[in-house]
Structure formats: C-alpha cells, structure tokens
Subunit: 416 residues, 2 copies
C-alpha cells in the first residue's frame, strides 16, 4: 500500500489564525483511492525547516502533498526550497501560467505587479498543474526521496484553490503509482445518532464477509454516512444495502455525496413542485442551504427571514394573538409561518423555523438551543398539512443554527 | 523565546474524518503568551510512531502539547508511550481522578467498567491536571528531552475537554518557564487585495523600527488583517496605526476580531437604527452573516430572499418593467429591491444583491460571477439614498456567494 504525508506551510497556521482544513480534505481523497496517510505536519515559512521537513517526508513516504507558502506577498521560500529539493537547475517561466495570471488579474481589474509575474516562474523540473481558480500554480515533482521514486505535489494554501487542484493530483498519482483497486458504496442517513445506529446494525456488521469493510462517517449537517468498501475486488454491494434499508428504514435519504438539500431539490424538480421558506432563528441559513444547490431556481421561489415579530405578523400574516399567547418560539407560530410563506409565494411546500440560537434570548421553559420546526405540504384538494417538531441542542450559536436547519430540512424531506 | 510543538494523535484525523481544531486553539493561546510554535503534527494510534514523534518534539522544542489517544475505548497506547518517555517506573492510581471518574459516570447513569477504572491510572512521574468535563485526565511531565528541561502536556482529544484544560496548562507553563512579554495590535481592512495593500504600505513597512513586526492575515470574508507585534516591550502602536489610516483610508473598518457584520451591528445599535435585506444570488447568506452576531435582534428586522422574479415584483414591489427592460441582474433591479424591502419592513437601512453565482445562469454580457449590490439609507427628510456596485468573481458557486455577501456588507458599512 502506498503511503503519503501531508505538509502545510504557513506561519498563519502556527499562530492559530487559520484552522487547516486542507489536510483533512486531501486525506479523505487519498484514503478513497487506497493511499495511507502516515502523518500530517504544519511548519512555518522558514527555509531550513521546509527543506528538512519535506526531505523527511520524501524519505519516509511515497507521496508528499504540500499546501501553502505560495501567495504573492510571500517570499517564495517554499518555491525556492522545492527548486533545491527537486534538483532543478533554475526557474523557467510557464507561459500557460503567465497567460492565466494575466487573465485573472484583468478580470478582477487588478494591475499586474512583479510579485504576480513571479508566480509564473516554476522550478524547471516541475510539471505545472493548472490552477483555474487563482494565480499560484500547482506543481508536480517525481523521482525524489531516498528511494528515488517519491512524488511531491505543491498546492496553494487557499482552500478552494487546493480543492480545485486535487483532481489533477489524484490523476497524476494514478498515472505514476500502481494503486490497488478499491470499490465503495456509501449510503447517507439522518436523524439517528452514531452510537444508536452502531447498536442497531451491530449483528449485521459482524456478519459481513471479511473482505467487506464498513466505515462510519458522521457529519453534523449531512448525518451519518455508512461506507462499504472492498479492496481489490468488484463487489456487488446491493444485497448489503437492501439489508441496511430494512434495518434503518427512512433515516436513509440518499447515497454517495447526497445532502438533504440536494435530495429535496431532486424530488421537487421531478414532481414539478415549488418551495418557499420562513426563517426566524436560522436567520437565512436554511435558504442558504437550499440555494447552495446549483439550478435550485427550478423549484425554489424564495424566503422571508422574519427576525422581528412585526415581520412575522406583517409580512407572513401570523396572527398577533398567536405570538401574544404562545410566544414566537412555539408550535403554533411556526405552523402559521409555514402556511403564511406558502400563501405569500404561492408554493406547494414550505418550511419554517423559530427558536433560540443563543447565547442570549432564553425565556422560562425555553432554554437556549430550543427550536420549533415546521414543514407544510399543499394537497391536491387545496388543503394544507403541516408537520412540526421541537428540537433541543446545547451548543454554540453557530452550531445550534446549523442543527436547527438540518433538522428542518429532514422534516421537509419527509413531507415531500 | 521558548518554543513549542503540538502533536495530535488519532487515526480519525489521518483518514480525514475529523478536522483538527485543537491545534489551532492551542497555538493561539501559546502565541498570546509569547511561546513560538515551531510545528504541529498529526500521527496515528501506533506506539512506535508516537514514541519517535514525541521524542523528536521533546528534543527540538521546550514545550510539547499532545492531544488525543486517551479515550476509554482506545488501547491506551499514548499513555504507555508517555510512561516510557517520561522514565516513569510504573502507573499509580490518582485518587482525585478516580473520584472524578466515579462522579461523572454516576451522574450519567453509566456503570463503572475496567476501561473507566484504567483512566485513573497515570505514569508515576506525571502531575494530574483535573479534567472537569470528561473522564480522561490531563497530564504534565517535566525535565524531559535532550536538554532535560522540556515539558510535555497530554490532553484528551475531545475539543471542549482540551479547551477546558488549557488554562491549567498555561498556568503550568508560566510557573515553569520565564516568558518574554509580547504585545499586538491588529487593524482590519476590506476591499483592497493583499498584493495592492502590500505595495501601498511598502515604504511605511520598511521604515518600521526593527522591534516592530507587521503580519498580513488575509481572509476572503473578513478582509486583510494587519497585525503589529512587539516582543519584550510595551509599544505604543497608536502612531503606526494613525499612519496606516492615512495610507489606507476607509478600507480600515475595525480592529482585533472585528468583522463587517459586527461593525455594522455596533454602528446601527449605537445610532438606534434598523436594517432589512433583500437577497437574490446570495440566497440567504447575507442574512445569515448579519444574524451570526448574537443580539442582532436589536437592529435587524429581517429579509426577503427573492429567488423567483415574481417574488421580486410581488413581495418586494420591483416594477416588472424594470426586470423586463434591464433584467434581474441589473443596477435598476437591486436599487428597487433595496428600496422595496426597506418599505416592506420599515427600516432605516437596507442592502440588496442580484447576480449569477454559477455554474448555471450566465446570459450574454453577464457572465457567471457577476453581481449587482445595493445599500440604501433613509435620510432625516424621508428621502432615500442608494449606493450601488457591480462586482465580478471567477470562483466556485459557494465562494462567489461568500464574496458577493462580503462586498454587499462592505457597501452597507460605508452607507452607515
């Protein structure tokens, strides 16, 4: 099995200004093609440290992926270290990269500076990996390390640029290393905690053939993904997935990279139905999730964030007596919010949220982390069905908002 | 200056299941007391790797902070490695820790198991740091490494437990090392790219006294933060900040941890004014940013996400001729959206967005990444001023949306 190391370069990581999310993303991709990550390291923009750390990585692992240390205001210490490590004799100008830097700067109306021009210079032994999303190129080097067979990939530190380059890196790894074939199938669940899920499918998991492995991939907004893997074979996972369906039921909402918002969108588009949203405590996050899916204008009409009660009554038409009697965080209020936005925007479905994200806003009997959620469906006869749910979480404001929104999407999914 | 390394132990990090946020948090605390983090590493639950990596860290840095590898279901490989590294002769039972484990399990109604009992056993050379939030203790070791003066702190991997133990670690570091004093001041800018900013303040930066350092901390949504630091002194940064103000002008919007949404909120609250939003391409993200600030209900009334044109006309009152003539992505349309939501919700200020986040939706003359932004202000005489701006970005859908929203906030900030 090929081994890898991931190295992040940048003082901003060592002073804790930035959380390194690149390494985790890269590790997931490497794992999915059967490359084992032995370690990750983060070091500063110091030439001698970069040289010794990358030297160690190249000696100890087959594949080294480096992110960071390439921005226009950096001293290009990283590129200089790569020049030396790769035994390049000097820099060459990458015409392709230069044209790309010019194009990007022109589009942004930024004048070309010497520091930008320097970004098109690369060590002569590297292969340039085109970075479509920024000015610093990706670089691939081969034949390095103690064994003379290790590869090094250098990517910019900006997460979406590193992410954008990753498919080229994976392609290059596939071309240069003989990887064992791994097949996967992933089903996605929501609403059952990981430990409960593990208990429920324990006997089934124990009975899996030895060449099929199960991995739990929990994510607070997506849910728990269950990934079946087989090394070196061509497994038919279908029977196992059917067994899981009978054990877990409708907590399973999709496969692979599915998210609640994508599955909801697919269902609505297929049925030719429309959606609107009314948000209070989620403050726009629910709408953001729905609109994170490209093409959502096929089914999504819009939303009202009714933070103030006068917007709940004035724009959404929630009767003021309901708020006076039950409060804004109540089953009665979210029910009216969902019906109100459905009427206002003339949609077939709607969802609504009202709760206390915290840290301020708790009232007697309604602690921080409480939210009421609703999902409404207009039936063929014109009547409206509203499902409601009350949830409690005990996290930070941001995490509470994320969880309220995910649970509202799950409630909506079950209504469609 | 004392140096440190941070080591995270756990297979779940190396397969990318978990993003390591502990290291960043620990690094910030260390930096604030003047300890320099030289590197961070993440390794798996393998005894020989733990021994060699922690050995290296202890030889090369004064302070080593380890997180992870201590849970009740782990094989306690980490604790065994610490026993060996610290030259302990065996385990001793910590009475304090045992009482604590019992208390926690009783409170949760969980029976005491051998694995829990084992958590109260610690290498005899360690000082126990009480973990009030979980069952695995923090541990401090002294007199280690090549120089015989290095310290190692072991913390549980669960982020809130590690965070809870950090003050005890910092106290212990202060007690055992003589730390140099370090002072900082950070100003926050938006709207000038890092490279242009660097060029504009180059001469000023070159003229800074040698004991004052400048760091660029760019962030796509916050902007570029400029941090001045001085080691060992008690600098008056004010004259330098004044010089920066005259060089950069109103691109400076705050200090320290300020964000656009926080600064906007502070200004609105101080003035007793209110805000509403009308979003199209940002799909709720702008509202989410405003509501990410706790206490925003003091000034924020709500928003309309008008994804469909019929919501722009029907709810926000944008004249349909405007959309027919100029399109929804136009200066005329965002202007009407901003005025419409201001009227609908009766607010003093409003902002609006309409653009093409992509990858679908481009039209001739309006490529993906184009957006029109507006920020409206109601004057004392009842008249309304609207500022507009057209922006272009060439990123992924998610990043385009983030940038549209940040630029809309910046436009709004300048209107207030």
């Amino acid at each position: 099995m090929n081994t890898a190391s991931i190295c992040t370069i940048g003082d901003e990581i060592l002073i804790g200004q930035i959380v390194d999310t690149n390494s985790s993303h890269i590790a997931r991709e490497l794992e999915s093609i059967g490359v084992k990550v032995r370690y990750m390291t983060s070091i500063g923009d110091v030439r001698e440290n970069i040289l010794s750390e990358l030297g160690r990585c190249l000696d100890e692992t087959d594949i080294v992926i480096v992110t960071g240390g390439l921005g226009p205001t950096k001293d290009d210490i990283t590129k200089d270290a790569l020049l030396q490590l790769s035994g390049s004799s000097g820099y060459r100008e990458s015409k392709q990269q230069m044209a790309h830097v010019e194009r990007i700067l022109t589009a942004r109306g930024i004048p070309m500076l010497d520091t930008n021009r320097a970004q098109a210079l690369v060590p002569d032994k590297c292969t340039v990996l085109e970075n479509k999303l920024g000015t610093a190129p990706g670089m691939a080097f081969h034949g390095l390390g103690r064994k003379g067979t290790s590869a090094l990939y250098s990517l910019p530190g900006v997460p979406f640029e590193a992410e954008g380059l990753l498919p080229s890196v994976i392609d290059d790894i596939r071309a240069h290393f003989s990887l064992e074939k791994i097949t996967h199938r992933t089903i996605v669940t929501f609403g059952i905690p990981e430990s409960t899920l593990a208990k429920r499918i324990e006997a089934w998991e124990d009975a899996l053939p030895s060449n099929i492995k199960l991995a739990y991939l929990p994510n607070p907004t997506i849910g728990v993904r269950l990934r079946l893997s087989q090394n070196g074979g061509d497994a038919d996972f279908e029977p196992y997935v059917q067994q899981l369906r009978s054990l877990i039921g409708d907590a399973i909402y999709g496969e692979g990279d599915d998210t609640l918002q994508k599955v909801i969108g697919d269902k609505l588009r297929a049925a030719g139905k429309t959606l609107s949203l009314a948000e209070s405590c989620t403050g726009g996050h629910l709408s953001q999730l729905i609109t994170s899916v490209s093409g959502c204008s096929d089914y999504y009409k819009g939303s009202v964030t009714s933070y103030a009660n006068e917007v709940k009554t004035g724009v959404l038409g929630v009767p003021s007596e309901i708020i006076a009697e039950h409060g804004a965080v109540s089953e009665e209020c979210v029910r009216e919010m969902a019906k109100g936005v459905m009427k206002l925007m003339g949609t077939d479905y709607s969802a609504a949220t009202s709760g206390i994200a915290g840290p301020l806003g708790a009232t007697p009997g309604k602690p921080v982390g409480t939210a009421w959620l609703a999902a409404a469906r207009r039936n063929a006869d014109g009547s409206v069905d509203v499902a409601t749910e009350c949830v409690h979480f005990a996290s930070s404001r941001a995490i509470n908002i994320e969880r309220f929104a995910s649970h509202a999407l799950d409630l909506l999914r079950k209504q469609i």
